[in-house]
């Protein structure tokens, strides 16, 4: 197996999911690194939106914040939060990449709290930020997260951000924009997608060096399985070089 860590693997896998000419709303960290890598490899015309207002910049180095100056470096527009979120709501943004402390079989995410109750949580997390917004408005939501049964849970303690809610048609009937929803879940062990009817998570491809058992052992709910499960292609040497030398030379993200 080539020499790369879990984070590098996930970022390189995620970067391949974006096609040229698409639009993507990203947060800081792995999502932004994936979008930057995608731009430098397969999708030079990828249009990146940051929730604080940066639109289509030439990102010179990893932003620390989705609102810092790197997000508007040589940008086509420096706008505001409503502008970006409403562009998503109008259906102009194809993808978003998110993370979360917990994810369930319908792709719902928790980034609000764990344990205790609402007014006195055991562990308070940041809350939605723009995650619920991006996941509601963008056509296809993707998640980058480590495969771990404490993260992949039967039931999120708090649904911060919508996936397919309770599955089936529930997302659409709730009032969320028609045709939108979770698309791919990218972990260090596999790529998951969603079964079209039940909207349950299923294994789509397994990363080199991992087995189906590894994936299932590190997931707190029963995963479905696509008709054909392939092997996820490993990161290319060039992608790793770009990631390490140009995108995240100080290892803010890939050093985690």
């Amino acid at each position: 197996m080539a020499d790369f860590n879990t984070m590098e693997l996930m970022i390189c896998t995620a970067a391949r999911e974006l096609e040229d000419g698409a639009t993507v709303g990203v947060g800081t960290g792995a999502p932004c690194a994936a979008a930057m890598l995608s731009q430098k490899t397969t999708a030079p015309n990828l249009v990146i939106f940051f929730e604080a207002g940066g639109v289509a910049p030439m990102i010179p180095e990893m932003p620390i914040s989705v609102g810092d100056s790197r997000t508007t470096w040589k940008a086509n527009m420096a706008a505001g939060m409503a502008e970006v979120m409403e562009t998503c709501c109008r259906g102009m943004v194809d993808y978003t990449f998110l993370g979360g402390a917990q994810i369930d079989m319908y792709g719902n995410l928790n980034s609000t709290r764990i344990g205790g109750d609402q007014q006195k949580p055991k562990v308070r997390l940041p809350g939605s930020g723009g995650a619920n917004d991006f996941a509601s408005f963008c056509w296809r939501m993707m998640v980058i997260t480590a495969q771990d049964s404490r993260r992949f849970v039967e039931r999120c303690e708090f649904i911060t951000t919508p996936g397919y809610l309770t599955g089936g048609e529930s997302r659409q009937t709730s009032g969320l924009p028609k045709g939108s929803g979770p698309y791919k879940i990218i972990t260090n062990m596999a790529v998951m997608d969603f079964e079209p009817e039940s909207k349950r998570m299923r294994i789509s491809s397994i990363n080199h060096g991992y087995s189906e058992k590894d994936v299932r052992d590190n997931c707190g709910f029963e995963l479905l399985k696509a008709a054909k499960v392939s092997e996820t292609p490993p990161p290319t040497a060039e992608a790793l070089r770009l990631l390490r030398e140009e995108i995240d030379p100080y290892k803010y993200i890939i050093g985690r």
Binding site: M81, G127, N132, D133, T160, G175, L176
Partner: protein
């Protein structure tokens, strides 16, 4: 208008535009000199118990001087708009100035990690919270800025974020589809840091505006801190650049490096070392106390804080960093 479902969170402010109109009717519209000090602005415009909001995006273009002054003046029982808040939230939580909080994003400093102290405060049970999202909060300010009581939005549906919010869900009479209604948010007080303002309060901002244009319009009382005062003639020579007009503004304070240790686009980058120091000292309440005494409670005004942390030499380094002077990937 039938409500299908509603959140159980508390609404900390009144969304009634007619009540806001009564306030705005009496607010001065005069083109008058509003230059004052941060100390006086906070003293006269922010009262204990007020609902307040801070402009910028957490550690980008924030009015740090105002946040520090709120601590020094020991304001209490405030309600805070925890919207795109990071370092500002960290400061305010350190002073325990608020006891109610609308939450969209709190306690984190994005890629930098989480504030241990802010987290402790939010886990203590001392703060009553209502959940929202970044866009929902922006929409609430937008509704207020438009002088209406609500705006329909298409997010939050089906989630616990909705359940613990104070929003309501209805059906659109045109399409039959469900919408969440974001109730108007009229803060009593807001502070926004900008690049340039004249003494009347006409403001210019470079780079992203986040939710500040909506915030400026929604707020009953507004303090502007700015990097530089410019003349009203300059404003009038290019009125297209005015993004916050004078009649929204109650006080103007010139505070160079006023977003420090945050990033000010086109001026200086964030001081990552100093922000790391904040995150480190917060792990131990005693260390934090000493740190706050040194950096906030023990200083009279913001310029002292800048001096304590490297002064002009540091500011020059942060300017270099902002303009990527040493970055080989950045096309100049």
């Amino acid at each position: 208008m039938d409500v299908i479902e509603e959140g159980i969170g508390r609404l900390f402010t009144d969304p009634d535009p007619d009540k806001a109109r009564e306030f705005f009717r009496k607010k001065s519209r005069e083109l008058k000199n509003k230059l004052t000090t941060v100390t006086d602005a906070v003293k006269t415009l922010l009262n204990d118990g007020d609902y307040f909001a801070i402009g910028g995006f957490g550690a980008n273009r924030i009015p740090t001087a105002i946040c520090h002054e709120i601590l020094r003046q020991k304001k209490k029982n405030l309600a805070f708009a925890g919207h795109t808040s990071t370092h500002d939230f960290q400061i305010l939580a350190a002073g325990k100035v608020f006891s109610k909080c609308d939450i969209a994003y709190i306690i984190g400093l994005e890629a930098r990690g989480l504030s241990a102290n802010a987290r402790r405060y939010m886990e203590s049970g001392e703060v009553e919270v209502t959940e929202w999202t970044n866009y929902a909060m922006a929409a609430r300010l937008k509704a207020a800025a438009m002088g209406i009581s609500f705006i329909p939005i298409r997010n939050m549906m089906g989630t616990d974020t909705f359940k613990y919010s104070a929003s309501k869900k209805i059906k659109c009479p045109y399409t039959g589809d469900n919408y969440v209604l974001a109730p108007a948010l009229y803060p009593d007080f807001a502070a926004i840091h900008v690049h340039e303002a004249d003494v009347y309060g006409n403001c210019r901002i470079k780079g992203i505006t986040i939710a500040d244009l909506e915030l400026a319009r929604a707020s009953k009382r507004l303090v502007i801190t700015c990097e530089r005062i410019i003349s009203n003639d300059q404003i009038r020579n290019d009125p297209s650049l005015t993004v916050i007009p004078f009649y929204l503004v109650d006080a103007v304070c010139e505070v160079p490096y006023g977003s420090y240790p945050g990033n000010m686009p086109y001026e200086y980058f964030s001081d990552e070392e100093h922000l790391r120091e904040w995150l480190t000292v917060e792990k131990d309440p005693e260390d934090l106390k000493k740190f706050l005494d040194k950096n906030i409670y023990g200083v009279k005004e913001f310029s002292e804080y800048v001096e304590l942390n490297g002064g002009l030499k540091k500011m020059q380094e942060l300017r270099d960093k902002e303009f990527l002077v040493k970055n080989k990937n950045a096309k100049k």
